[in-house]
Structure formats: structure tokens, C-alpha cells
Amino acid sequence: MEREEILLKLRERIVAFAASRLGGDTAEDLAQEVLILLHEKYNHVNQLEELVPLSLQIARFKIMSLRRKSQRHGESTQVSIADIQLPDLDADPATLVERKLMLEHLTRAVGQLGERCRDLLRLKLQGHDFAEIQKRMGAQSINTIYTWDHRCRKQLLELMGGDWEPEKR
């Protein structure tokens, strides 16, 4: 798949995702900003496996900064595109604080998981893929691992209040 084709599809997906969170015009503008950044700063990134996570990262940064700015100004979602800054993907202090908070929540939540879920998550974080995890956990099929993973993620999400990000709660 060519880069331009990937970016076109990405724009469509980002607009729809942002619209569900910010509102119509802002979502269009946000998607445009993401593409501009990908074009100007990450022009060397061509692969799908890199472009999708990168675009998701940029989109999230922009949404977070829009929210922070909106809260500071006492506005709701009425944010002018002129006020939207291009994100620097190096973490800013606010982002670092949010990550720290999320890590604290996550650390507390994982301790409440069941033994199997803790084993599974540990193996995942240690860099094992699902096939290796299947062997290590002695599961009969990889689908068993997928099922366990789905249940464990659901349980972990519930323990964290329904969202990974604490500020949304």
C-alpha cells in the first residue's frame, strides 16, 4: 500500500475518531494537522506499521492539548484551529504528569488481577508474542490465549475505572 493511500485512509479514520470526541469542524482541522505533521516532520516514515501508530500518537497529543487548553479557558469544545499548536512528540510536563498518574493507576490495578492474568500480562510485557505465551502457559491453542487476553484486558480496564486514562474519569 502506497504512503499516499495510507494517509488518505488515515485522514478519514482520524476525522471520524476526533469527531466522536471533539466535534465536527475541530475534528477535520485536527486530522489536517496530523497529516501536515506527518508530511513535514515524518516524511521519511512510509511503512504502514509505523504510520498508523505514529498518526494515532499525534492525534492523541493534539486531542489532549485541545482539552487542556479548553479547560484552561473555561471553554467546552469550541477551539479555534488557530489555537491548536503542533504537538511536540517529546513529552511536555503536562503529558509527563498524566503518564505518571496513569502508571500509578495501572500499577495498582494489575496487582488486583488474578494469577493467570498477571502471568499473561507479565509475559506480554517481557516481549513474548502470543505464540510464545501459548507455549509458556501451556495452553492448548493460541485462541485460548486470545480469549484469556481479552478477559484480562477487560478486567484490567474495569479495575482502572473503564478507561486507561485517569483524567477522563
Binding site: V52, V110, G111, R118, L121, K124, L125, W164
Partner: protein, 359 residues
């Protein structure tokens, strides 16, 4: 890959668990599937936290120490199993011994609960038998006795001449009965335990009085007492009979007074086969066998079968009527609870202490 399969890969996005092929499949699908793309976007926050190595390590530490792999756990379990089995076996053996000991003690000796008809109701709340440890080579007794009771005789009480010692009915199978030395040993043990249990017992109210032969014009003239010794016992009816002028023994009539020269016997009718023995405490305090008989269920016997119990001088006579039943060693005959033991009266001895005063 089907959409379902792609959805399964979602859990590997944040943790970087996916292979290159899986990532490509997931992202290609996400470009055409808004729902999947939104789900990926929601995972982004977690992914960003977990892609930081220190943060990742912190979460791993929060997960606690890793369990051993399954084969290792299985091996350890297999190693533990024999030890657990041995421990379980030991527990079973000990439990079996503990359960067995009380039963053995229970069926070796059962001591009677002698209750006079009038006293039956008030005494129903009396202590139940307890198992008592005895010295080595001694016959263990299950004994819990009521207080030694000395009640004044009612002026015109119409007491029956037969006294049911226990309500419990038991029909033991015929079996060898204890020998005379065994019975004497049991009497000694019974006596010792009776002495120990007499002192702290408060006197009961008069209506729950002991067995009294006859109604006497004066309570101080003559008394016959039954020492109540609680325990399970088969039905035994007994009567104090007095030798009349014609030489025959008849139930002591109400108002009769025992005097020097009177000759009495104990007439007993056991409800089970066994051996009846009558003992009398001698001057030295030892128990002397007066008479002993092998008895059958429902038959009436008199002890002693020849002669009678007499006192040449004013005296306080202590008698013990001991009924020993065949040893029922069969587990099936053993009672399954203490209450059942009281009711069923497993094999053993039933002893009734009778005190007579001659003036």
C-alpha cells in the same frame, strides 16, 4: 484473517506483543474499519506508557514474582503428593484411634441409672455419663453419679415394690459373661469413683428421694437407699423382699421396718441375659460377693438364692447389685453417640447401690 481474528490482536497492540505480520494485518484492517481504528486509538494511551522501559519494568514488578512454568509446578505437585498422602494417612490413623478409644471404653462398662418411680421425673436432668480414665489394668468405668441422697421417708407414701432402674431397653446378643473376679474388680472401681464423686454434690430436694422400701411410721427408724449411679442400663426391675414368718420371701410391705434378725433378699428381673451379682460391703470396707447368678431375659431371680442378708447388730448395710452383660465387641452394636449410649446401654456393667439400715 477474519475480522474476529483481527480483533484478537488488539490486545497485543499496547504491549508490543504482536509480530510484524500481526501488526500489518491489524493496521490494514484498522484503516478500513472505523470501530477497530477507534479501539486502537483508545489503546494508544496505554501503549505510550508501556513503551517507556522504566514504566514497563514498574508494571512488571507490580505484577509480582513470576510463577514457575506449568511443567515445574506439575513436578512439584507430584513431589508433594506422596508427602500429602502420608500426612493424610497419619491423620486418618490418629482420627481412627481417637474415635475408637471412647467406643471401647463405652462398651466395656455401662453404669446404671437407678431411678425410683417418684424420683424419675426430677432426676431426668441429671448429669449424663462421662468417660473416666482409669489406672492401668483397671476396668474402665463410664460413670457419672448423682449425689448420695438420704431423704426422709414420706409418712404415707404408697411406694411400689418394683423399681425400674432405667427406661432404656436393650436386647444384647448372648455372649460370654464376665467372671466373678472381673465383677469384683468392677465393683472396686465403681466404689472408688463413687467415693470421689460424693463429696462436692449438694443434697437434692426431698421429692427426688432415693429408693425406699415401704412407708415407715418414723423416718428415722429404717431406711433403704438406692445409690443412684447414672449410666445406660437395660431394664432391670428389682425388689427388696423380706423373709416372713412362714419362711418365704415376699416384697417388703409398706411401713415395714428392718430389724435385727430380719432376713432380706434382692429379687431382680433383668431385661437381658447376663450375670447378676450381689455384693455387700464388709466391716473392713471391702466388697464381699454375696451371690452371683447367670440370668436370662425376663426371668425373676433372688439373690442370695439361699439364705438371706441379715444383720446381727444395728448397722448400716451397703449392697451393690451388679448386672453384667455379655461383652458386645461388634461395632454394629456400639452406640453412635453419647445419647445413644445412654439409651442403648451397650455391653458392660450396671450397678445399683442399695443402702439398708437395720435397727
Amino acid at each position: 484473517m477474519s475480522r474476529e481474528d483481527i480483533q484478537k490482536l488488539l490486545g497485543g497492540y499496547a504491549t508490543h506483543t504482536l509480530t510484524a505480520e500481526e501488526r500489518r494485518a491489524l493496521f490494514e484492517a484498522a484503516l478500513d474499519d472505523q470501530e477497530l481504528f477507534d479501539a486502537l486509538a483508545k489503546e494508544q494511551a496505554l501503549r505510550e506508557v508501556l513503551q517507556d522501559p522504566p514504566a514497563r519494568q514498574q508494571v512488571i514488578e507490580a505484577l509480582g514474582p513470576a510463577r514457575e512454568p506449568r511443567p515445574a509446578r506439575a513436578w512439584h505437585w507430584l513431589r508433594r503428593t506422596p508427602a500429602l498422602a502420608m500426612a493424610g494417612l497419619v491423620v486418618l490413623i490418629v482420627a481412627g484411634m481417637v474415635l475408637r478409644l471412647p467406643k471401647q471404653a463405652r462398651h466395656e462398662v455401662i453404669v446404671a441409672d437407678a431411678v425410683s418411680p417418684q424420683a424419675a421425673t426430677p432426676q431426668s436432668g441429671a448429669p449424663h455419663p462421662t468417660t473416666t480414665g482409669l489406672p492401668e489394668n483397671a476396668l474402665p468405668l463410664t460413670l457419672s453419679r448423682k449425689a448420695k441422697q438420704t431423704a426422709r421417708l414420706p409418712e404415707s407414701a404408697a411406694l411400689g415394690d418394683q423399681h425400674v432402674l432405667s427406661e432404656a431397653a436393650n436386647k444384647p446378643a448372648a455372649a460370654p459373661v464376665p467372671s466373678q473376679p472381673e465383677a469384683v474388680g468392677a465393683m472396686r472401681q465403681l466404689d472408688e469413683l463413687t467415693k470421689k464423686s460424693q463429696a462436692p454434690q449438694p443434697p437434692p430436694p426431698a421429692p427426688s428421694a432415693n429408693f425406699v422400701v415401704g412407708a415407715l411410721p418414723s423416718a428415722s427408724l429404717s431406711r433403704a437407699k438406692v445409690q443412684t449411679i447414672t449410666g445406660a442400663i437395660a431394664d432391670i426391675k428389682y425388689t427388696v423382699v423380706l423373709k416372713g414368718a412362714d419362711g418365704t420371701y415376699t416384697p417388703a410391705p409398706p411401713g415395714n421396718v428392718f430389724h435385727i434378725g430380719d432376713s432380706i433378699r434382692i429379687q431382680a428381673e433383668p431385661a437381658a441375659a447376663g450375670r447378676l451379682s450381689l455384693f455387700r460391703r464388709g466391716a473392713g470396707g471391702d466388697w464381699e460377693a454375696v451371690s452371683s447368678l447367670d440370668v436370662e431375659n425376663g426371668q425373676r431371680y433372688e439373690l442370695p438364692s439361699s439364705g438371706g442378708i441379715e444383720s446381727p447388730t444395728p448397722a448400716h448395710l451397703e449392697l451393690r447389685l451388679l448386672f453384667s452383660r455379655p461383652d458386645q465387641s461388634s461395632q454394629a452394636m456400639l452406640p453412635r453417640s453419647d445419647a445413644a449410649a445412654q439409651q442403648a446401654g451397650a455391653a458392660g456393667y450396671a450397678a445399683i447401690k442399695i443402702e439398708l439400715e437395720f435397727r
